[in-house]
């Protein structure tokens, strides 16, 4: 880990440990926007890790963004931090200015497309984007779509959309945004050869880091609980059956962290489609198994709203399905592997 990343890691850990309290998450679940926390996150430069310094960002890498995204997952931070990271990167990498404030990205499904059409000297945006993360809270929406035979990145004010609110299992906003010939703030051809489904792709990337972070929390929390909770006269963690289950959780946690980190590194190198598919498929599987073991270890107390475990497990159950579940990503990955052929698998793996 380089020095910048160590500093970043310290900053996010301190900030989230101090500020993302149980009360704050509970309050966010009732619909309150934790503005003071958002301001602190923004002031610490956590939302623009990939925006060049000349544009006011941190000028960092996806590797740096990974540290933030994983910590955001570990602490169940109820803010669109990763959405803003992706949105600000899509804009800056396409040569557009990045507005401050919370951002979101759309559309979230692989095949969904919004329509950009020319209107005079500008552009208009049309179409419906369902389950947009933090839609109501975002100041702006960054969209990727095809127009005039090219992949385009567009920026629209959220106020230009009609919002129908909804939520995921963790009561994070997942809103439907309807654009009807809405004005756009800026449009540019997508940078770096981004595909038309870039939002889906990079959305899956950042969710994989959040899930890996969530699993970090589950492993620590469940291991800790097993050393404290006593039954039959001893800590439940001294029973082999509990130890074996926690070892399985450890394996999935390690795999999730590695798969996600590998995908972020690939994103720094360019084409990360293979590694993102590997990551979302692998962490999605780990999320289900991990949540199940963590709950089993905690017994009835972990099933209550009172205990903080559920802030993370409910997120994992939603996050693993967002931007493509592990089935969808596995199929995507399997098709690409089949297309290259069996004999290309090992050379491909070792070249990445």
């Amino acid at each position: 880990m380089n020095e910048l990343r160590t500093v970043l890691s310290d900053v996010v850990t301190r900030l989230f440990t101090d500020r993302v309290t149980k009360d704050l998450i509970e309050s966010a679940e009732t619909g309150a926007w934790p503005d003071a926390l958002w301001q602190a996150v923004e002031e610490n430069g956590l939302t623009w890790p990939l925006v060049p310094e000349s544009q006011g960002g941190a000028g960092g890498t996806w590797g740096d963004a990974f540290v933030v995204a994983r910590a955001a997952g570990r602490h169940a931070v109820p803010l669109p931090i990763v959405e803003t990271i992706v949105a600000s990167w899509l804009l800056s990498t396409s040569g557009l200015d990045v507005p401050s404030g919370p951002l979101t990205i759309a559309p979230v499904h692989r095949e969904d497309r919004l329509r950009l059409t020319r209107a005079g000297s500008g552009w208009r945006l049309g179409g419906v984007a369902a389950r947009v993360p933090w839609g109501r809270a975002a100041g702006h929406v960054v969209i990727v779509t095809e127009a005039e035979g090219r992949v385009m990145v567009g920026l629209a004010a959220r106020s230009s959309a009609q919002v129908k609110t909804d939520q995921n299992l963790a009561r994070e906003p997942r809103d439907t945004l309807a654009f009807d010939a809405a004005p756009v703030v800026a449009v540019a051809p997508a940078g770096r050869g981004l595909p038309a489904h870039a939002v889906w792709l990079y959305g899956a990337l950042v969710r994989s880091a959040q899930i890996a972070g969530g699993l970090d929390y589950l492993l620590r929390q469940a291991s800790q609980y097993a050393t404290e909770r006593r039954q039959f006269g001893k800590p439940i963690g001294s029973f082999q059956v509990i130890q074996q289950n926690l070892a399985v959780l450890a394996g999935h946690t390690a795999a999730a962290g590695t798969a996600a980190a590998h995908a972020f590194r690939a994103a720094d190198r360019g084409d990360a489609a293979f590694e993102i598919a590997v990551a979302k498929a692998r962490v999605g599987e780990a999320a289900g198994i991990g949540a199940s073991i963590a709950h089993q270890v905690h017994g009835a107390i972990g099933f209550t709203y009172e205990h903080a475990l559920q802030f993370v497990t409910r997120r994992l159950w939603s996050w693993r399905a967002e931007f493509g579940g592990e089935g969808e990503w596995s199929a995507e990955l399997g098709r690409s592997v089949a297309e290259r052929g069996a004999d290309a698998l090992w050379p491909h793996l070792t070249a990445r």
């Binding site: 394996g251 590695t258 199929a331």
Partner: protein, 384 residues
């Protein structure tokens, strides 16, 4: 929270290691040519002395050892690349594998100068094959309960007892045997000592233990008043436990712990590529996601070892996750295709499936059972 956890940092193979890869691939292409998939599926089970000598001639055994012992003073990462290429290709590495991975490093660390001079150069040339004599009829996972005795006598030791599950003992030149030199019921971990035992010594009787598929890899090795000279003792008397645990820790995270079913994955992809439906594609993709992740985890441990760290917990995690994966592959192929597994008829896919289905139970037994590994992981988590 005070709970400890593990660390998997991504690593990168240095250019010299990657440069070696192409050379190894070309060698394997020539040596293995069109070896049938079911032969490749034997993975590190294939025993071929001629192949091992060629490996030795290339300098691909004893890669990290000092030159004065016949080694090549290359990095652990270059060795890692050679290993993973060998295993991915299904090369028959068994004749030098144990010596390269365990016995040689053991002698380097704990052996006498005379032992190093005598054994290491021959191992490096691929001419000496080793077996590991640990398990006994009443000692499997509970290694501290070993009973085969080595009693002091003038000039050496007299050995009596029985070793079992000794892979390739009938083919190996030497065995590293862990024997009991003293016994205190309160301190069973003490009193164990390691020896270099010539498998041809008088008093040693070997009999095959045939595995469930009808193959002969395992042996029962009976020692009756076998004289082992003093200078064949490895390390101090009573240091055996410490030496054995060091030895095991270094063999847990290698590519052999997740690539055992790689040949079957390749045949599955070959089959599915013809017409990849959604379900087949998802099945292949899921396995590849596991495989790609395991390779990065294993590599991460290799880099920690190269950096002189002691990633015992991480190594146990890789082995547990890796063997779970390689054990799952035949089940997944069966669930997807429902093909009948075969022995020497049918398609390559059917034969590889048949072979690995019968081999798979051993993946989570050898080198420390799944339960033992998970106990090690639990200790690393602070639970015991």
């Amino acid at each position: 929270m005070s709970v400890q956890t593990f660390r998997f940092e991504l690593g990168e193979l240095p250019p010299e290691a990657e440069a070696l890869r192409a050379e190894v691939r070309e060698f394997l292409r020539q040596e293995l040519g069109d070896a049938p998939p079911v032969r490749r599926a034997h993975s590190w089970g294939g025993f071929d002395r001629e192949f091992s000598k060629k490996m030795g001639a290339r300098g691909w055994i004893a890669m990290t050892w000092p030159k004065r012992y016949g080694g090549h003073e290359r990095t652990a990462l270059e060795r890692y690349v050679v290993l993973e290429e060998m295993l991915a290709a299904g090369a028959p590495v068994s004749a030098h594998w144990i010596a390269d991975r365990q016995s040689g490093p053991l002698l380097l660390r704990f052996g006498t100068e005379a032992q190093r001079q005598k054994f290491l150069p021959a191992i490096a040339r691929g001419e000496l094959s080793f077996a590991i004599g640990m398990s006994e009829p009443d000692s499997g996972s509970d290694l501290a309960s070993l009973r085969t005795r080595a009693d002091r006598m003038p000039g050496g030791y007299r050995v009596n007892g029985t070793k079992v599950w000794t892979s390739n003992a009938h083919l190996a030149d030497y065995m590293i045997a862990t024997l009991r030199t003293s016994f205190d019921p309160a301190k069973k971990h003490e009193g164990l000592t390691q020896f270099l035992v010539d498998t041809k010594l008088p008093g040693i009787t070997m009999s095959p233990i045939i595995d469930l598929a009808g193959s002969h890899h395992f042996n029962m090795v009976v020692f009756e008043d076998v004289f082992v000279p003093e200078d064949m003792r490895v390390g101090e008397e009573g240091a055996g436990w410490k030496q054995v645990t060091t030895e095991l820790a270094f063999e847990r995270s290698g590519p052999e712990r997740y690539l055992s079913s790689f040949a079957l994955l390749l045949e599955l992809i070959r089959e599915v590529s013809k017409d990849p439906g959604e379900r087949a594609a998802a099945t292949v993709g899921r396995l590849v996601a596991h495989l790609a992740t395991l390779r990065q985890m294993s590599l991460s441990v290799a880099l920690m070892l190269q950096a002189g760290e002691n990633p015992n917990l991480e190594a146990a995690v890789v082995k547990d996750v890796g063997t779970t994966f390689e054990q799952e592959v035949p089940e997944v192929v069966h669930a997807l295709l429902g093909l009948e597994p075969t022995i020497d008829s049918g398609s390559d896919l059917q034969q590889v499936l048949g072979f690995l289905m019968q081999r798979a139970p051993s993946f989570s037994l050898r080198g420390g059972t799944r339960e033992i590994l998970r106990g090690i992981i639990a200790r690393g988590l602070g639970l015991r």
